[in-house]
């Protein structure tokens, strides 16, 4: 158990390190650097050299990587390409907004998805399942900007209930985003519920067909007791990993949804940074998102280990 834990933690660290190398190398390979972006057409001769010296861009790639990585570990990503804005404060603001959006979607979406998944799984190939599963395919496949557009058309333009876009500035207190962020949350919920629900459904079907459930049935255990006591605890275990992927997806900047609703989260910051060719911000954001992804998946794996009796005893039995 401890071995497994240590190995899993080490893997996480290695992955984050590799990500940082990939990002840094990727940005190195792309033409242009922070100086050519800021100076634009003046970027030549002495001016360019001075700028590079000031920002430390004249050092070797390895040196620059080390100082960037050392900063990143402490949560310091330096200044944006304009030379003034501190990236960490700006990013923190957007992260807060993205967390708000993710939180809104998760609080409603996860219970709903698990409920629908269990219902569909238990009623396999009968009416509730066919209805829910078909709806899930639609929710999963229709592009986010299409469902967002339909939602705006109905809720904002025809019914006039909610504003079509978020006008609250990025640094406003969280409560100000109510109710403006509801349409964005609805679109996210549609996609995530479909994914989690499908996973839960197939897991429920698998467990309900397993030998120990058959055994319980043959012993005459009442149906609902089998479902709640025997089947669901292990059927819901795989849901942890899907929920983790969903959390990572939500925190990783839901670019399209944020752009459609003009929501000031990480996703929009990313698009803006790309259009401004602001390499330091892009690097910082990608690093942050990738680290979140690794961390969330790590937590999910540890949780499934904790809750899964089979994984827990595997090592003990081996001894």
């Amino acid at each position: 158990m401890i071995d497994l834990l240590v190995r899993r933690l080490a893997l996480g660290v290695v992955t984050v390190w590799l990500v940082s190398v990939i990002i840094f190398a990727g940005m190195e390979v792309l033409p242009g650097d922070a100086c050519t972006v800021v100076l634009e057409r003046d970027a030549q001769g002495e001016v360019l050299e001075n700028c590079r010296k000031n920002l430390g861009l004249d050092r070797s790639a390895v040196e620059r990587y080390l100082s960037w990585a050392a900063g990143a570990v402490r949560g310091e990503f330096g200044v944006a390409a304009d030379g003034q804005t501190k990236i960490s404060t700006e990013v923190a603001l957007r992260v807060k907004n993205s967390i708000l959006l993710a939180f809104g979607a998760l609080v409603v979406g996860v219970p709903l998805a698990i409920f629908l998944g269990v219902v569909a799984g238990l009623a396999r190939d009968r009416f509730p399942d066919i209805f829910v599963s078909t709806a899930a395919i639609f929710a999963m496949t229709i592009p986010e900007f299409v469902s967002a557009t339909i939602l705006v058309l109905i809720l904002s333009i025809w019914l006039g209930w909610l504003p079509a876009v978020v006008l609250t500035p990025a640094d406003a207190p969280m409560l100000d985003f109510w109710p403006e962020f509801i349409p964005a949350v609805i679109v996210l919920i549609m996609v995530m519920v479909a994914h989690i629900m499908r996973m839960v459904r197939s897991s429920v079907i698998e467990v309900m067909a397993s030998e120990y459930v058959q055994m319980a049935t043959l012993k005459g255990v009442p149906y609902w007791r089998i479902v709640f006591k025997h089947a669901l605890p292990s059927a819901l275990l795989p849901a942890i990993n899907v929920v983790a992927l969903t959390v990572a997806w939500l925190l990783g900047g839901v670019v399209v949804v944020e752009v459609v609703f003009n929501y000031p989260g990480i996703g929009r910051m990313m698009i803006d940074a790309i259009s401004d060719r602001d390499l330091p911000i892009i690097q910082a954001l990608v690093m942050l998102i990738a680290a979140t992804y690794v961390l969330v998946n790590l937590v999910a794996d540890l949780m499934s280990m904790l809750f899964n009796p089979r994984l827990r005893t595997l090592k003990m039995r081996a001894k």
């Binding site: 900007f145 670019v255 698009i271």
Partner: protein, 299 residues
């Protein structure tokens, strides 16, 4: 043992066409497969032949008909520049289908070969490669694509390799997993015992036996790639105007949605029906071949 294995390996190959036809037949027998395939074929046919039967020139501006409501002459109305929406809807899937239909085979070939190789090879090579795969999977999906398109432009010579590269990475994992499922079977052991090279084992034993998983994976990746392509185009990182594309059309028409909702409806229905069609087909294919697709959902 040797004879039997060789025979079965030989017997597999000529039956490939027949097997594909059987799969197709089983696919069409499922309602979802039939509907899905119908939608896909319809879109492909329209994409190929639309230049010959569209009612107007897709770039023809008409300043007297800006955001005009649907009329018999312009069945879906006109857009903000007075262009016929129906014409642009009919042409709007060509780029997406062209790019994705070229990129998906590339994706499956490179991801599939690397994955099968790693699954067979194992050891430290596999260990290191999988760490790199993990690292790439941690990158936020659409962002590397946006950066590359922004820097190098949205030409097909940029989009196709980029999409194929990034979509191939999760395929490595799937192909490797599928290889692990068959690599310990008797026929692989027999091939090893006969002293076949790794390349020969991959080609003769592993690739045919991971094909089912890869077909389902390919169909699924296609629907995600179409989604990604149109998202890029919606965000302004796709085809260059005036080439019509659904994602871009939706993004343009959204602005005038309260005045002219017909501008978004056409491209939205077209795009959604294509992606739903591909997805239904992938789903039916998975059921036909007995592969649980939901296990590999997300990412």
């Amino acid at each position: 043992m040797t004879d039997a294995a060789t025979q079965s390996a030989q017997a597999r190959r000529p039956s490939m066409t027949i097997r594909m036809l059987q799969v197709l037949r089983d696919l069409v027998r499922r309602p979802s497969g039939l509907i899905g395939l119908f939608l896909v074929v319809m879109h492909v046919v329209v994409a190929i032949f639309s230049p010959w039967f569209v009612p107007y020139d897709f770039k023809a501006l008409d300043s007297s008909l800006i955001l005009a409501a649907p009329t018999p002459e312009h069945i879906l109305g006109t857009d903000a520049l007075g262009r016929d929406v129906l014409t642009r809807v009919l042409l709007g899937g060509r780029e997406a289908l062209w790019v994705c239909f070229l990129a998906i085979p590339l994706t499956m070939i490179w991801g599939g070969l690397v994955g099968v190789y790693l699954g067979l090879r194992g050891g430290w090579v596999d260990e290191i490669a999988m760490r790199i795969v993990d690292a790439f999977l941690a990158l936020p999906g659409i962002l590397p694509l946006m950066v590359l398109v922004f820097v190098f432009g949205a030409g097909n010579e940029v989009l196709i390799p980029t999409l194929a590269f990034f979509f191939g990475i999760p395929v490595i994992r799937v192909a490797r997993g599928a290889t692990h499922d068959v690599v310990a079977r008797d026929y692989v052991l027999a091939a090893r015992a006969r002293g076949h090279s790794r390349a020969s084992i991959m080609w003769r034993e592993l690739l045919p036996n991971t094909l089912d998983v890869m077909m389902v994976e390919g169909a699924m990746r296609l629907s995600w790639m179409l989604l990604t392509f149109s998202s890029l185009s919606f965000l302004g990182f796709g085809v260059t105007p005036p080439t019509p594309d659904w994602g871009q059309m939706i993004s343009e028409a959204r602005v005038y949605m309260s005045l002219a909702p017909w501008g978004v409806l056409g491209p939205m229905i077209a795009l959604s029906s294509l992606i739903i069609g591909v997805n239904l087909t992938a789903d039916a294919l998975a059921k036909t071949l007995g592969i649980d697709r939901t296990r590999k959902a997300v990412v």
